[in-house]
């Protein structure tokens, strides 16, 4: 055990260093070039010049948003995969994003004044409804649905929820606002929004790490979990709230980012093994790195125009998805 935990610590340090480098790189790269020294100044001192102003007002909030959303999606995907013993679990595939979209459309259609707080709350509720529907349908059958079937149920529920939100959006003439939001990525993320998002994500991830041991036990076998004295129902409820919180806040800030929650935990598993005590923190950092990278690509691939980061993650994710499907999805 001891000689295995050392490499894990090293891995985490390596990942953290990589995250820092990615963060700095993502701030430098963009429509306007920025000197490395100014990035460091902006991060660690109070000096001000033109470039530092750009960094502080535009780039830094945006990259922090990408960082925290990536971490949140990856952790919620990891918990979903462990809890449901389903290697194909992902907030986008199992109805959470679609539910949050519907809630978003309802809020934009009916609310007089839309604050970011109300959007976050709406996304929580919507994500909970979407996930509840999919899991509920999945548990209709004795012994539960197979992973593949659960994904199909997820796609049907998503199709349904998207149809409802399209109907609402078209009839109340908010189609443009809703689609701007859901494919918006990190454009225009502000400190104001971050002051709500960062605490939620940080608390969510911290609590997830506290419960990581229970996730590991659940990922083995539910009977084992009960046998080991776990109060399965209570723990599942807590984990469900965590998933909804992390995925909901991501949709509220950045819209639909599919496949991130699917890919990152699998990569983390390759790197640190099958124990969720390791998978969850590693997923958080790797998710952050992935999202920063994807957002930077989205900014520079067609500069000075933005490409949708949602589209980039979707296109990057498909080979991964196919790989997992073809492996038969047996092993988590």
């Amino acid at each position: 055990m001891k000689n295995r935990s050392l490499p894990f610590a090293l891995t985490m340090i390596g990942l953290a260093a990589l995250l820092f480098i990615t963060l700095v790189a993502s701030i430098i790269l963009g429509a306007k070039d920025i000197a490395v020294i100014n990035v460091l100044r902006a991060l660690f001192t109070d000096k001000i010049n033109d470039q530092i102003l750009i960094i502080k007002e535009i780039r830094l909030p945006r990259e922090l948003a990408a960082l925290f959303v990536g971490a949140a999606l990856a952790v919620s995907g990891a918990i979903m995969q462990g809890m449901t013993r389903n290697p194909l679990a992902d907030p986008g595939l199992l109805g959470l994003s679609a539910g949050a979209n519907l809630a978003l459309a309802i809020v934009m259609a009916f609310a007089v004044k839309v604050s970011f707080m109300s959007i976050i709350v709406a996304c929580f509720v919507g994500a909970a409804v979407g996930a509840g529907l999919v899991f509920g349908i999945g548990s209709l059958k004795n012994g539960g649905f197979s992973p593949v079937r659960l994904v199909l149920a997820g796609s049907a529920v998503s199709a349904f929820l998207y149809a409802v939100s399209q109907g609402i959006a078209i009839n109340f003439k908010v189609a443009k606002d809703v689609s701007m939001w859901t494919s918006g990525g990190f454009v225009g993320s502000s400190w104001n929004q971050l002051s709500l998002v960062i605490p939620i994500v940080a608390i969510g991830i911290a609590v997830s790490i506290l419960f990581s041991k229970q996730v590991t036990v659940l990922s083995l076998n539910e009977d084992v979990a009960t046998g080991l004295g776990q109060r399965t129902a209570l723990i599942k409820a807590i984990l469900f709230i965590l998933i909804v919180m992390l995925a909901g806040v991501s949709v509220a800030l950045a819209g639909n980012l599919i496949f991130v929650g699917l890919m990152v935990p699998h990569m983390a598993r390759k790197l640190v093994g099958v124990d969720y005590k390791r998978i969850i923190p590693a997923s958080a950092i790797m998710g952050a790195i992935f999202m920063l990278g994807a957002d930077t690509v989205a900014r520079i691939i067609n500069a000075p125009f933005e490409t949708s980061v949602a589209a980039i993650t979707a296109v990057l994710g498909i080979p991964f998805f196919l790989l997992i499907v073809n492996k038969g999805g047996k092993r988590i």
């Binding site: 109907g167 078209i170 589209a311 979707a314 499907v325």
Partner: protein, 336 residues
Amino acid sequence: MIASRSVKKRLGWTIASLIVLIIFTFLLGSAVGHASLSFNRLLPTLMGDGTAKENIILFSIRLPRMLITLLAGMALALSGAILQVITRNDLADPGLLGINSGAGVAIALYYLFAPVGEKYASMFPLVALLGGLLTAAIIYLFSYQRRIGFKPINLVLTGVGFSMALSGLMVILISSADRDKVQFIIKWLAGNIWGADWPYILTLLPWLVIIVPFIFFKMRTLNVISLDDSVSLGLGTRLQRERLLLIIAAVALAASAVSVTGGISFIGLMAPHIAKALVGPRSQRFIPVSILLGGWLLLIADFIGRNVAYPDGLPAGVVVALIGAPYFVFLLYRTK
């Protein structure tokens, strides 16, 4: 003998009542709508005795739209029926298999980047066909495993994954385009019957006229293919070739329908299914029924969508998804 006669009788009844339903929905759809054209003016207008306004409402707006909806629904249902037989999978549907989104990306590419002339609409079915075929080929390739062969559920899942990735690609395309064009494509994606005019019927009709007789000619082959691979090989079917031909036919049908109606899923799933429940699983019986049923389903969905919300209405694709998604979940729950 008695049993088979009663089955035949049942088939006849089913087909007759579907035709009655379609005619009834046509009449209803002609008379009810945003602009009024009352029932007792319907017949005179049809006979050429209407006012100018009535003529326009009936002949230039409502009739072409309903005809195109009917034809598209039929094409989608037939496509779904073929796909379900070939993949031996009740969950197959051109929309769910990613063929719609493949055709959609092709149309978006063409619409955004081709020099748009007067006649561009008649090219839509061809462009959609190319996109759909390409997507189908890729999906087929990825869901085929050397040792196991085809796992039907993998085919569906691969399709789901692909349609998501393709929607992502679509977003990239849209994000670099003009506002007006984006508006059109977004409505297209939602399954808004946009090509509601006589010329579009002419772009859709040939495909049906060619492929429907072809499928009726292939009924025996379809029955054989629906059995085991080894059985159908034993019976002397050239399995790979027949399968390929049928897939091309199915994709062509779906793509041509989608090119005028936009992204509509679930019709190809529901219609064959309900048809099988009504008249049994033999191709000769359930395919004609599912064609009629698909046409009627889309017709009624568009009718509901047009009238449920003023003034814009709901796209038919939205209405179909609202009915179809729960049905899909029900199937998922019931099938093994």
